[in-house]
Every structure is written in C-alpha cells, then in structure tokens.
Symmetry: C2
Subunit: 745 residues, 2 copies
C-alpha cells in the first residue's frame, strides 16, 4: 500500500527544478528517483536585497504596484472568460455536428432496420474524439488529465506540482476538454476551467512565458511565490466564476482552498477577476447567441431560473431534504470508494500512455453503447409540445409527435441534461427512466474520472444527483394523495444534485454559494446548505472527498486547516527534523556545493549561523544556487573590483526554474573560495522555542504561509527545522493521532 | 484637536475591568483618568495550566467541544432571528398606529382647515417616541447609541470597548431602535441588528450573564477572548443576515471586519449562524403575515424581487453606472465631512445626557415638520391604481382617487420608501419631488447620525441614493428620444442606493454581496461592484468612511489590514516600547504589586526572564491579578500543604472582568513573599529579532491575532515589547508615513 501510494499519475513525470529539496519522488514506471515537487516558497527572495528594494520604494511605487495588480486581475478575468467562451462555443458546435449526424443516421435506420450501424457510428465518433483528447494528454502533458482541481488545491496550499501552471498544460487542457465533452464521456467542462484560470493567472502575472521564450519585461516585481500564488487564487476564482456564473462562489472557493491569511485587498481583487470573468463570458456569449448586450445569463453551466412561486419550499420539506443529503453523502462515498480502487488499479496496470489512450477509447465506446441500448429499450415516450426545449429530440420508436424521454438524458451534452432535469415540466420523465439512468450513469462517471483525459466531475455528479433527486420527487408525489404539495420534481432534482455533488467533492461553503448563484435564487440557500452539510458529514464517515483522496494518493505534504485535535501534547521538539544542516555566515564554497548535492540533506532552506550555532539568518537552496551560478565568492569580488554586483534581478530571472546543482560547475580551486551569505540571507527568519506545541507551530505555518520554521533553544541556538512535511505527517486516524508515511520522509 | 479626539461618546464612560493596562483614557466630562478599554487578549489563558488541560483532552472531548460550538452558533442565529422578528413586528405595529392616527387627523383637517394641528400632533408623537428612545440610551447605556457597527468593528479587530457586549446594552439597543424608527427619525433598524447579534453571541457563548448574575456552568471552555471573539463574529454575521436576508453577505461582513486567520470550520459555523438567523426571522414573519411556511421573503429590509426581464442592463449603461458611483462617492464624502464636524461639535457641547435627549427630540420634531411642509406644498399627485402598494396613501389636496406622491417617501417607514423607489412603476414620482426629497433627507440623515439614539445609517443612505438614482433615471429617460432604453427608473434607484451607501460606509465586498442577496438578483453583481468600487475610490480621495471616522475619533488602536505601504524601512527596534518591565521567574510579590500599580508601566503583558534578562515566558496582567487574589505564594504553599491548587477554573471564573489591582489587598508581610510564575506563564511567547521589518511584525499581529510581541536580541534577551498601539500609530498621511497621536501613547 505504501508502495502504491508512491505512484500516481498527475504528479509523476519530469521535474520542475533540479533541486533535490524536500522532494517526494512519486515514481511512475521508468522514471526513478527524480525529485518531483517542492513547496512554494513564501519568503523566497525576502533577503537583504529584496528588503532594500522595498525600503527604497516610494509611496508612488507602491501605488503603481497596486494598480498593476488590479490590471493583472482584470486581464486574468478577461482571458479566463474568453477561454470559457471558446470552450463553450467549440463544444456546442462540435457536439451539435455530432448529434445531428447521428440523429440523421438513426432516423434513416429506424424505419429500415439496421440500427446497429447507427450504434457503430456513434461509438466510432465518440472513440475518435476521445482518442484525440487522450493522446494529447497522455503523450504530451499528463498533468492536464482530470479536472485539475486537486492540483490547484495543492498549489494554493503551498505545494508546487511540476508543470501545473505552464502554457502547454493550458493548451492541452483546453483542447482536451473540448474533445472529451464532444466525445460523449460522462464529464463536464467546468472543473478544467478552474485549472485554466489558474494557469492563465500564473502566466499573465509573471509577464513572460518560458514555453514561448518571451519575456515582456513587465511585472517583474511579481516574480516570487507569494505574489504568484495570490494571482493563481484569482485565476482559480475567475475559473469557477466563468464555469458557474458564480463570482462570489469563486471567491469563496479560492479562500476555502487557498487562503491562509485573509487579506482584504487581495480578496477584493479576486472578486474583481471573478466578476470580469463572468462578465466577459456573458458578453461574448450574448454576441454569439445574437443577443448582444444581454448580460443576464452567466456561466458555462446555467441552471436556469428557478421561479420562486413554483419552487417554494416549506418547513416540513426540510427533513426530506436532509434525508436526501444523507443519501447523497452515502452515494458519494461509494463513488469515491470505487474510484479510489480504480485509481490504484490504474496506477498499477494502466500507466503506459498508449494503454491510457486505449482505456479512454474503450470508455467512450462503452458509454455510447450503453446510452444506445438504454434509449433503444426505453418505452418512455413523451409528447413533443410546441415549447419543447430539446435540441435533438429522438423519435425512434415513439409515435409521431412524441419523442424518446431517455434520449433527453443521454443524447445530449450533460449540461443540457441537467437543465432538463431541473426544469422540464412534471411528467417529462417516468420513474423507470430516471432510475435506470442514475444507475448506469453513476458507474460510467465513476469509471471515467481518472482517465487520461481533461475533464471535470462536477457536471456528471450534478446529473446523477438530479436524476435520483427528480426520481425522489416523482415517488413522493405518487405516494401522497395531496399531489399538489410536491408538484415540482425539479426542486428535488436540484436538492439531489447538490447532495450528490456534495457527497463526492465535500466542498461546503463555496459549493453552497455556487449552487445559489447558479440557480439565481437566494431562497434555496438554507436547504442547500443543510443538504451539503449532511452529505459531508455522512460521506466523511465512510470515505474522504474525491479530491482529497487523489491528493492523498499523491502523498503530498498537504496542510489541512488546523492541527489534528489531539496533537496538543506534541511539541516542536518532537516534530522537527534534527540535526539540521547549518551554514556559516561566511562559508566555504565546497561545503555549500556538498550540502546541496547531498541527497540526504533534503531541505530547501538552511539556517545560517555564527559560531557557536547561533542563528543569524535563513538562506534558501534556490538562492544558494543563484549565488553559485554567478560565482559570488569573496575572493573573486576582491580580485575583480569592477564586477557587477549581484542584483535582485538575477534572482527574479532565475525564478521559478532554478537550475539543479548538478548543472553548476564549480572547479576545485573555486571550492576553496568563501561565500559571504550575509547580504542574501533572510536576516529575520521566524523562530519558535522547542516547547512550542504542534497546534501553535501549525498555526504559524498556515497563517503566515511558512515553509521552514527554525527551532531554537533558549540561547537562540539552532536545534532543528520544522518543514511542511513534518506537519503534514500527523493526522487523526481511527486510533487517535497517527503518523502518515509520506514518501521518503 | 488632539484634545477633542480624546472625548467621544461611544467609548467614554465607565470601565470594563479595573486593569490599567494599555489604557486609552478617553475622558468625558467629570469622569477622569479611568482606564477605558483594553485590547482583546488572544492568548490570555494559554498558560501551562491551559496547555495541560488541552493535552489531557481526548479526541472525544475535542469533538464535544466542536459540537458545542455548532450548537452555540445555531442558538446565536436563532435568537438573533427572534430579536429581528420582534423589532420588525414592534416597529410595524407602533408605526402603523402612529401613521393611522396622523392620517385620520390629516384627513379630518384637510377639508376643515387647521392642518397645523396635524403638524403639531405629528411632531409631538415623533418627539415623544424619540425622547423615550434617547433617554434610555443617554442615561442608561450610552454605548448603545448609533448603529454599533464601529464598536463591533473595533471588537472584532481586537480592541475591547467597555460594556459593548453586555445584556443591558442589548436591551437598550433593541428598545431604543424601535422607538427611534417609530419616532420617524431618518434612521434604519438594520445596523443595530449587527450589534444585537454580537451581544447575543457574546452572552450565549459564555453560558452565563454577569448582569443577571446567572452562571449556567456550561460552555466554560469558551471563556476566553479567542473563542468569544469567534462567536461574536458569528453573531455579527447573523445580525447582517437577519437585517438584509443576506447570509453570505453576513459571512463576508464578519470576515471583512474581523477575521485575520481564515479558518474554514469557523467560517462555516458563521455561515450556519447566518442561515439559521435568516431562516428564523423568515419563519416567524411568515406566521405573523399569515402565510406560515412561506420562506421566500428573507430579511428585515427586503428590496423586493428585481425581475430580470424588466431590469436588464446593457453594456453601454455601465459607464453611466460608474458615473453614478462617482456621484455617490462624492456625496458620501460630503455626508461624512458634515457628520465629522457635527460629531466634534457634539463632543464639545452636547455631552450632557439631558442635552442629548433634547437634541434628539429637536431632530424628531424638525424631521416631522420638514416632512409635513414638503408634503403640504407638493403638487405631485398620482392616480391610486387598483394594485397600489402604499400602506398609508395620503390624499391631502389631490383629486379623489389620487394620492400625494411626496407622502410615499416621507409618510412611511424608510424601508417601505426604499422599496417604493425601487419598484413603483415609471411615472410614480416626478423629478421635483425626488430632488427635494434627496436634498432634505440628506441633511436630516446627516444630522441624525450620531444622536444619542440607537439607530442605523444603512437605510437612510439607501433612501437618499435611491431617490437621486431614480431622479437620474427619470432625467435620462427625458433627455433621450428612445425612451424605451431607460424604461425602468427602478434600476437606477438601485444603483444610486448602492453608490450612496458605498460612498458613506465604504464597505466593498460584503456590501456587494449584501446588495445582490437583498435584490435576489445575481445579474446586478458586476454593476453594483463597479459602483461600490468607484464610490470608494472617489470617496476615499476626500474623506474616510463614516465608521472609520468615528473609530478615529475614538483614537482606538485599530489595526488595518496591512502595514502602511512605505513602512518597510521601519524595524521592530524603532517601533517597540523600550525599556520594558520584565519579571523574574520567581518574583517578589511586592515587586509585582508595584509593577501592576504603576500607571506608567502601562502594559497588559510582561515578559518573564531568567537572569540575565533571558526570555523564558510571558505573563499577563490578568493572570497576575488572579494569582495575587488567590495568594499563590511560594511560602504559603510550603506552610499549607493541603491548600487547593490554583486551577484553570479560577482564571475562567474571573474572566472577563478581572478586578483592578487596587482592590486586591496585599499585606506588608505578604509583600516579602515570592511568587513562582513558571506554572502560569505562557512558556513559548512569539518573539522577533530586532531587525524584523514593520510589515512583517504587522503581519504576525494580524495573522495570529497577537497583542504582545516580545523583541529579543541575538542571545534571546528581552530588548522590547511591541503592542498593538505601537503598530496602530503609523499611517500613511499626505506627507508619507506619519505617526498618529494616539491618546496617551
């Protein structure tokens, strides 16, 4: 098991920097023992140079920075909206083409017989699309698989996943999601929007692209982890906002997942990015739909208007809602359980790209087949009213003027199916249709999540929930005589959707707000909240949330919100890594090179001491590497007086892909030189005494976004170093506090 | 000026504890030199005893605590909702009675002549109500004056204002607000709800009431500042939620004003309290309105449904909205400017309670007179349609079947007037009516805010804004030929209301969400946000926000979100108070008593050192006082071996009103005894080196909610102490960084 958890696809290949620091080598097949990720570095260039720059800055300079931040956030929002718009239009056009083709084919063969040809056509079209989507993901950028939400959660938490915010990832993600949705998989295009927004944010805010090898020489100040992370929060929020038309939900998502220290200006900028994103999407879609300027239809997925009159709920319905929440929690846990084992199976046996592509194609073909069979054998015919909203009504074996009801759920993009389930009038579906649909779609969606395609789990979850929710509504209406009470099954579809989604992803605050915003109805706030809470409580009893499971499979040093409840008896002394490698303030180059090359000193930060072991600063691996690269040695400085002094710019240019120590050549002579670290170290690192309790250390890490905390004794002598991984190790298991075995701790 | 700012009504009388620590003696007339507030104490009982208790606690105990927290939040929400319901019904009944009486009188005298008698009646009724409201505030609980939002902001920021969360304050606040609204003042009942929720939260969470001398022996664990403050956040959120039917807005309000460290569980509990509060209010109001179970009408103020079709906005309207935002910002700044000088005038000349009551009565009479005159001379008659929504239509001199349009704005509770301005069909008001109304109401509201009555400024601001906003809409419609474009002036009323409110209070994120939730329309998110941003930027250019002005007048050590931008060159060394009084680990009782009695050692926390000056802990004034009170002396412990050991309970029972040092009698013999502080001090206080920059120190304070930070040198020797006040001193003025003169720093 410990062996298994070391391998997981989304964090498995390549490395971001060569730095060997705090690596968690998650191996994937052939590529062995290469460091794979590093924690974000909140203070990475808070060295003397940086402090001096800040001290020199005038009030106007700070104001300019602040304005730049706003401009960047506006840009992030705008671009995220544009991408969402592009995805939406592409999916709609391609899916339209596909469904039209298949529909014509089905109509042709319904009378003549030989519908198996239609099935083949359908399956082939799906497989082809999915193949394309899977190839680019599996062969070019495996990190773009899935929704990207676990990766973004990790990034915002402070764990850097290699290549997660690269331009190439974005391109693969966007193209991939279009093809997987068009390919008819049980996936949504919403999750990937969050990842896309995050990548855009990381790119725009740095003012350069390493992939394109362009440096626009702007926003150089923001080339550090703290700032970048703030912008990525904004990007993720803009993504949520574009996906669901939920700007407030987006802000809360970012805060729930990422924020540690609540900063009002930052939050407001995030909100701005979200607003602009929804607005942009809205505006361009309104032009696309030939209603330019009509801005009242936000989001990629729109749940449609829930009119208050028809959808009122009553006090006595609340227990019902809560019961549905419990069902959702249970089903969600089951979903996660299945997906967990499936993922482990995949890690073991389906780790070669071509196998991954084949699996994806198989799923696509099976999905088409199942859908076809369900539609074929369905006898649920409904009259095709004058105001029908179906885009592609399939008549099949129904009488003229009627259509096959099962086809509205399967023969459609999932977004449209959700809306139909919410809003189609009473009687559109019969109970059997919904039951069968729930059953099949549940397993299809579960199988699909984790494939090497770019795709989200939001919409499938909503769809499953809406189906069984509507089923509940219908059953309730049929069991009670006073039918008027439960007139609208759409209401139950909404609650079911919330319950199922909550049961799978276990988001709470932000999901409530997202649902409220997507329905455009504040009234449902309380029931949705209660449902999501119930779903979370019930679900957590059985199994973790889907994203958390996948994060756990990555054995990432992910810090939760609070220290485990029973960890008060642990102190920094027990938690810290010790002994810790310290450097002298003026240190021999050879020692530094050896320290950095030594794979057992797996830290990214080194306390700097003056004898005897008294702490005077902290220096980072990345800083040392830049220093070595520029050969900032005391002896050389003396001999070449005219040499350009190392500037902040040199650190910024190297950010974020610092070269590995192996690539830096240091001659034998140079090894004897000395390096003066005083100017480059962080002179005032945070410290704690040895007796500080774990919750307190934890709080420091979370609130300040630390990654290293030096532990000192009463005489200010370094006795240890606490890193994120030291903290992430502890969690509450069934038998009280347990130590997690993080890979290579 | 410095002299003036020392006196301000809402923080002027009495004292919470006798502690002389960090006091800011804001004097009011006769009561001299009594300490008045102290900062909240985030680590107040994080001493060894406390740590030991936490270490002993099992996982189940932690879970029980967590459940208690949820129960308390539910209770807070429920009670807040009940109080809101009570206020609403009381106001509606009493105001109904009043308006009916006056209307009958006016109808009687309109034909017969002698309307001056009606005027007298109106003015007398108003003055009488307001007199009652003002008397209880001015004589019994001056802290209950105003909306209470500045006080709650301070409380959440970590500054304790005496008596602000007492039961007596709550009672006065609730009764006071009923009478001031019924008294026809230009006030709202929404602001006070926030304060009420906060008081409830502080009371419920402590499981006892000092006013009622009842201790329910529950929730004893929560008797410390950190926990109390968290619950007060929830209470404030519940208040916002009940006031505006905006649970998400409530959460964001709490976060914007109070949160430092974003804690997911806490946020969720806050959200829960908010939801329950809206729901409770909703539920009981639905019973009151004879529609039991209809839960779709949340909040004390409900802006009514904004139907998407009629209210759509277009891209080209956005610049107009922004322009309105700028107007709102300007008008808001003007409002604040006037109110600032008025407040200073009041502090100087109207500080005696009877004068305050007389002023309030005067304002009430003037308000009635102005309203009457405006209605009397108005010629704006509108037909009384079959579906009119006016509760008390005044015919006056209009033709039969018509009513006086001016009366719908003045002769009504402000909440109803706002709704009329938003929703009455085009042509209900003519431009002159609205212009005159804006003008008079602006000055009336400005005069009213700051009176010794319990009242909020939200609704008057909205009303002023809605009036001029609707005026803008009407003017736009009249200037353009294509009238259809600007059909609905209600849309402009909404934007105007947002602009005006934003211009006055300068809230941003939370206000956007509150407005969105209160209108039940997500579509207006972006314009409202842009408007509020513009209003804030324009307003800030001229003058601070109303609440901030009042906080500044109180010269409170209020910490803003971030350190001033240009303060990077300041280090802990420059900021800290030095020399600092340290105590030895085993200290003579006499020394401790002298230290605490010495008014120049105005700190609430004392570093504990071992020779030579090496830091080994931090102990608080309140802890020392409890120790002295229980005579925990080394010698006594030796002689009386059976003596009960001091327990955590003793600290909790004394919380939060620790006796002043003067009240503790220590005999001359006892002065020679020794006290061992080891067991009671916080053994691992946060420390920083001397060279830490101010922004970094600031961040520690904000993120961890600190109040003392010990500054140490390289050898861990105490060199100084940074307190909140040391940080609050610095702000960015017109000439760069300035030091603020906080009273008696």
């Amino acid at each position: 098991m410990a062996n298994i958890t070391k391998k997981v696809s989304w964090s498995s290949r390549g490395d971001e920097s060569g730095a060997a620091g705090e690596e968690t080598p998650l191996l994937n097949g052939s590529e062995q023992s290469r460091p794979l990720r590093q924690s974000l570095d909140y203070d990475n260039i808070e060295n003397q140079l940086f402090l001096e720059e800040e001290r020199r800055m005038s009030f106007m300079a700070f104001r300019c920075l602040e304005i730049s931040r706003w401009v960047i956030c506006g840009l992030i929002g705008f671009l995220t909206g544009l991408i969402a718009c592009f995805i939406d239009i592409a999916v709609e056009q391609l899916a339209g083409l596909k469904y039209k083709l298949i529909k014509e084919n089905i109509v042709k063969f319904t009378e003549a017989g030989g519908l198996s040809i239609s099935l083949l056509l359908w399956a082939a079209l799906n497989s082809f699309c999915v193949m394309f989507g899977a190839i680019i993901v599996a062969f070019f950028e495996p990190i773009a698989a899935g929704s990207g939400i676990p990766q973004i959660k990790c990034f915002l938490n402070g764990v850097k996943i290699p290549r997660v915010v690269r331009l190439k990832t974005l391109v693969v993600k966007v193209v991939g999601v279009i093809f997987s949705v068009v390919g008819g998989l049980a996936v949504g295009k919403e999750g990937p929007m969050i990842h896309s927004g995050a990548v855009l944010a990381a790119g725009v805010s740095q003012g350069r692209s390493t992939s394109l090898k362009r440096d626009f020489k702007i926003f150089e100040y923001f080339r550090r982890d703290t700032e970048k992370r703030d912008f990525v929060s904004a990007g993720a929020a803009a993504g949520v906002s574009a996906a669901f038309g939920a700007p407030v939900g987006g802000v809360l998502f970012s805060l729930e997942e990422g924020a540690s220290f609540w900063n009002q200006m930052l939050t407001w900028r995030i909100f701005f990015a979200s607003m602009i994103s929804t607005f942009t999407l809205n505006f361009f879609l309104s032009i696309y739909h030939n209603k330019p300027g009509d801005l009242s239809n936000p989001g990629l997925i729109n749940f449609g208007r829930f009119e208050s009159e028809a959808m009122e709920y009553n006090l006595y319905e609340i227990p019902l809602f809560i019961a549905m929440g419990a069902i959702g929690g249970g089903l969600g846990a089951f979903f996660n359980f299945l997906n967990y084992w499936l993922t482990i199976f995949r890690i073991r046996y389906v780790h070669r790209p071509c196998l991954q592509v084949m699996e994806a194609m198989l799923v696509a073909a099976v999905t088409a087949t199942v859908a076809f069979v369900m539609i074929y054998f369905s006898t649920d015919c409904q009259p095709l009213g004058p105001d029908h909203t179906e885009e592609y009504p399939l008549q099949l074996f129904c009488a003229d003027g009627e259509y096959n009801s099962m086809a509205t759920t399967f023969f459609n993009t999932p977004e449209r199916s959700v809306r139909s389930l919410f809003h189609n009038p009473t009687g559109t579906y019969n109970a059997l249709t919904l039951g069968l649909f729930t059953l099949t779609y549940f397993f299809l969606a579960c199988w699909t999540y984790g494939l090497a395609v770019s795709a989200g789990v939001f919409i499938p979850s909503l769809l499953i929930g809406a189906a069984w929710g509507r089923l509940c509504g219908i059953l309730l209406a049929s069991t009670t005589s006073t039918a008027s009470l439960w007139t609208d099954p759409g209401k139950y579809a909404l609650i079911g959707a919330a319950a199922q989604l909550g049961g799978i992803v276990r988001m709470t605050l932000s999901l409530t707000v997202i649902m409220v915003e997507a329905t455009g109805n504040v009234t449902y706030g309380l029931p949705i909240m209660l449902v999501l809470m119930t779903a979370k409580i019930v679900g957590d009893y059985f199994q973790e949330g889907l994203y958390d499971l996948h994060i756990k499979l990555g054995s990432v040093p992910f810090l939760h919100w609070e220290a485990p409840a029973t960890s008060h008896w642990l102190t920094a002394r027990e938690v810290m890594s010790s002994p810790v490698t310290c450097l002298n303030r003026i240190e021999k180059v050879g020692t530094i090179v050896d320290t950095l090359s030594n794979t057992s000193t797996n830290h990214n930060g080194f306390p700097v001491v003056v004898q005897p072991a008294k702490l005077c600063g902290l220096i980072l691996r990345s800083q040392l590497i830049v220093l070595l690269k520029h050969k900032v040695f005391v002896e050389l400085a003396r001999s070449r007086l005219t040499q350009r002094k190392l500037q902040l710019k040199d650190f910024r240019d190297a950010y974020p892909r610092f070269p590995p120590i192996q690539s830096i050549h240091v001659s034998q002579d140079e090894r004897e030189c000395m390096m003066d670290l005083t100017e480059f170290m962080n002179p005032t690192p945070y410290t704690v005494p040895q007796d500080t309790s774990l919750p307190r250390v934890f709080k420091l890490f979370r609130a300040l976004g630390l990654r290293h905390l030096v532990v000192v004794d009463d005489d200010n002598r370094v006795v240890g170093l606490v890193t994120r991984k030291d903290l992430a190790r502890y969690h509450v298991g069934k038998h009280g506090l347990e130590e997690l075995h993080l890979a290579q701790t």
